[in-house]
C-alpha cells in the first residue's frame, strides 16, 4: 500500500481546520451531560421513588438506541413538525435558518448523559457510608454532603472512565456530520475525494483525534494526581 505524504498533509490540514467544531461539540456536550448524568445518578442512587424507576428504565432503554438512529429520528421529527410547531407558537424563524447542530447537541447530550449517569452511579458505590454520616453529623445538609464530601471522593474513581467518555464523545461527534456539520473525520476525508486517498485521510483523522485525546489525558493525569493524593498507596509486594 502506498502512502502519499502530500495527501496526508492536506488531509491533516483539513482535519485541523474542522477541529474547533468537534471540540465545541465535545466540550459543551460533555459538560452539560456531566451535570445531567450526575443528577440522574444521584436520583437513582437515593432511589427517589417513581422518578428513579423511570430514569432506570429510560437509561437502560436509551442505551439501546444507536446514536446514528437517534440523529435520524430527531432530525426527521424536527423537519416534519417544526413548521406546524412554529406556526402554533408564532415563531417566525424559517426552518432553513435553524442550525441543525442543535439537533446534534440534543442527541449527543441525551446519550452521553445516560452513559455518564451509569459511571457516576457506579462511583457512588465506591464511597463508604461513614463518609456521608460524618458529613451529616457535623450538620451538613444532604446536598452539601454530596458536593463537598462525596463528589470529590468520586473524582479519582471516575477520572479514568470519564476520559473514556470524553474521548469517545470526541469521536462520536463525527456522527453529527450526518446532519450537516463538518468535523474532524469528515474534514480529513474532504481531500480524499480527489485521489481516493482514504488511507492518508483516515490516518490524518486518527492522528488529530489522538492528539486531542493525548491533551485530555495529560490534563486528566494531573487531575488524577491532585484528586487522589489522599488515597493510601498499596505497597505492591
Amino acid at each position: 500500500m502506498s502512502f502519499n505524504v502530500q495527501s496526508f498533509i492536506e488531509a491533516l490540514r483539513s482535519a485541523f481546520k474542522y477541529a474547533p467544531v468537534t471540540l465545541e461539540l465535545t466540550v459543551i456536550t460533555f459538560l452539560v451531560s456531566l451535570v445531567l448524568g450526575t443528577v440522574i445518578a444521584t436520583v437513582r442512587h437515593y432511589r427517589i421513588p417513581v422518578i428513579s424507576q423511570i430514569l432506570g428504565v429510560f437509561v437502560t432503554v436509551y442505551m439501546g438506541l444507536p446514536m446514528m438512529v437517534a440523529l435520524i429520528l430527531y432530525n426527521l421529527l424536527f423537519m416534519t413538525f417544526y413548521n406546524d410547531f412554529a406556526t402554533a407558537l408564532n415563531i417566525s424563524t424559517p426552518i432553513s435558518e435553524i442550525n441543525p447542530i442543535y439537533i446534534g447537541f440534543f442527541a449527543l447530550i441525551l446519550g452521553q448523559s445516560c452513559s455518564l449517569s451509569e459511571a457516576v452511579r457506579g462511583a457512588f458505590r465506591g464511597i463508604e457510608k461513614i463518609q456521608y454520616e460524618a458529613g451529616y453529623s457535623i450538620g451538613l445538609s444532604k446536598i452539601k454532603t454530596l458536593y463537598r464530601i462525596i463528589f470529590p471522593q468520586m473524582v479519582p474513581i471516575l477520572l479514568p472512565g470519564m476520559q473514556n467518555s470524553l474521548i469517545g464523545l470526541l469521536k462520536a461527534s463525527n456522527l453529527v456530520s450526518a446532519i450537516a456539520v463538518t468535523e474532524i473525520m469528515t474534514g480529513a476525508l474532504l481531500p480524499s475525494l480527489l485521489y481516493y486517498s482514504y488511507l492518508e485521510s483516515y490516518v490524518a483523522a486518527a492522528l488529530v483525534y489522538w492528539i486531542i485525546g493525548i491533551g485530555i489525558e495529560v490534563l486528566a493525569h494531573f487531575a488524577e494526581k491532585r484528586s487522589g493524593q489522599y488515597l493510601r498507596r498499596i505497597n505492591s509486594d
Binding site: 461513614i130 460524618a134 451538613l140 464530601i149
Partner: protein, 250 residues
C-alpha cells in the same frame, strides 16, 4: 436538654433497641456502658438520625420530635446543634486534619476562613496534633485519627456531643489527656452522651451512668451507685470483670 423515650430499632428481625429511654439535662454528662453488640452505637446513631428509629420520641432543646416521622428541617436542626465522634473515626478521607475540623465551621456555621482556621488550629493543638494538621487521615495513626475526630466535634461548640468510644484507639497516656479535654468540654456546659468503657472517667466526670444490655437500659444511676452498689445481677456480672472484686468493699 435531650430526652428520648421509647426508642425502638430493629435490623430485619433482630431487635437491637427495645424501648430505650434516657434523659440528659443541660450540661450533664451521661456515660453509657454495656457489652459489645448491646446497641450503644445504634442508640447514639438514632439520636443523630444516622439511623432511623422505628418508634420513639425525642425532646431536643425546645423541640419535640417523633423519631420516625420527622421533618428534614428538624433533622438538620438536631445535627447542627450536636456533634458525633465516631467509633471508627469517620474522618473525611479527602481532607487534611485541619480541613476536617474547618469543614463544619465554614460550611455550617458560615465562619470566614481565617477565623475557622484559627479555631481549628486551636482544637488540633488541644488534642496535640497541630504538627499533623496537613496530614490526610490515611497518613495518621489510629489514635491520631481519633483525636482529630474529637477536635472536629469540639470545635463546633455544639449543645450536645455524642461520643462513641472516644478513647478506644488511644494509649493510656492519651486516654488521660483526652478525658481531660472532655472534662474541660463538660465544664463549658456542653451536654454529653459518652459511650465508653473507661470506668475512671465515668467515675470522675459522669453525672449519670446508664448500663445497657440486649437493647434495653438495665440500670441507671450515679457512677458510685452503679459501680459499687449495682442493683441488677447483670450489671454486677458485667462490672465484676473490670472492677476487682475487693473494690466492692469500699
Amino acid at each position: 436538654m435531650i430526652e428520648l423515650t421509647g426508642v425502638k430499632k430493629a435490623f430485619g428481625k433482630q431487635e437491637v433497641l427495645k424501648d430505650v429511654s434516657i434523659k440528659v439535662n443541660d450540661g450533664e454528662v451521661v456515660v453509657i456502658l454495656g457489652p459489645s453488640g448491646s446497641g450503644k452505637t445504634t442508640f447514639l446513631r438514632c439520636i443523630n438520625f444516622l439511623e432511623r428509629a422505628e418508634q420513639g420520641k425525642m425532646v431536643f432543646g425546645d423541640k419535640i420530635l417523633d423519631l420516625k416521622h420527622v421533618k428534614k428541617r428538624d433533622i438538620l436542626y438536631v445535627r447542627r446543634h450536636s456533634a458525633f465522634v465516631f467509633q471508627n473515626y469517620g474522618l473525611f478521607a479527602h481532607k487534611t486534619a485541619l480541613q476536617n475540623v474547618m469543614e463544619g465551621l465554614t460550611q455550617v456555621q458560615k465562619m470566614n476562613k481565617a477565623e475557622a482556621r484559627k479555631i481549628a488550629e486551636d482544637a488540633l493543638s488541644w488534642v496535640g496534633l497541630l504538627d499533623k494538621k496537613d496530614f490526610y487521615p490515611a497518613q495518621l495513626s489510629g489514635g491520631q485519627q481519633q483525636r482529630v475526630g474529637i477536635a472536629r466535634a469540639v470545635a463546633l461548640k455544639p449543645d450536645v456531643i455524642l461520643f462513641d468510644e472516644p478513647t478506644s484507639a488511644l494509649d493510656p497516656e492519651l486516654v488521660g489527656e483526652t478525658l481531660e479535654v472532655i472534662k474541660k468540654v463538660a465544664k463549658m456546659g456542653i451536654t454529653m452522651v459518652v459511650v465508653t468503657h473507661e470506668m475512671s472517667f465515668a467515675e470522675d466526670v459522669a453525672d449519670r451512668v446508664i448500663f445497657m444490655d440486649g437493647g434495653v437500659v438495665v440500670e441507671e444511676g450515679k457512677p458510685g451507685e452503679i459501680f459499687y452498689k449495682p442493683k441488677e445481677e447483670r450489671t454486677r456480672q458485667f462490672l465484676s470483670r473490670i472492677i476487682p472484686q475487693d473494690a466492692y468493699v469500699i
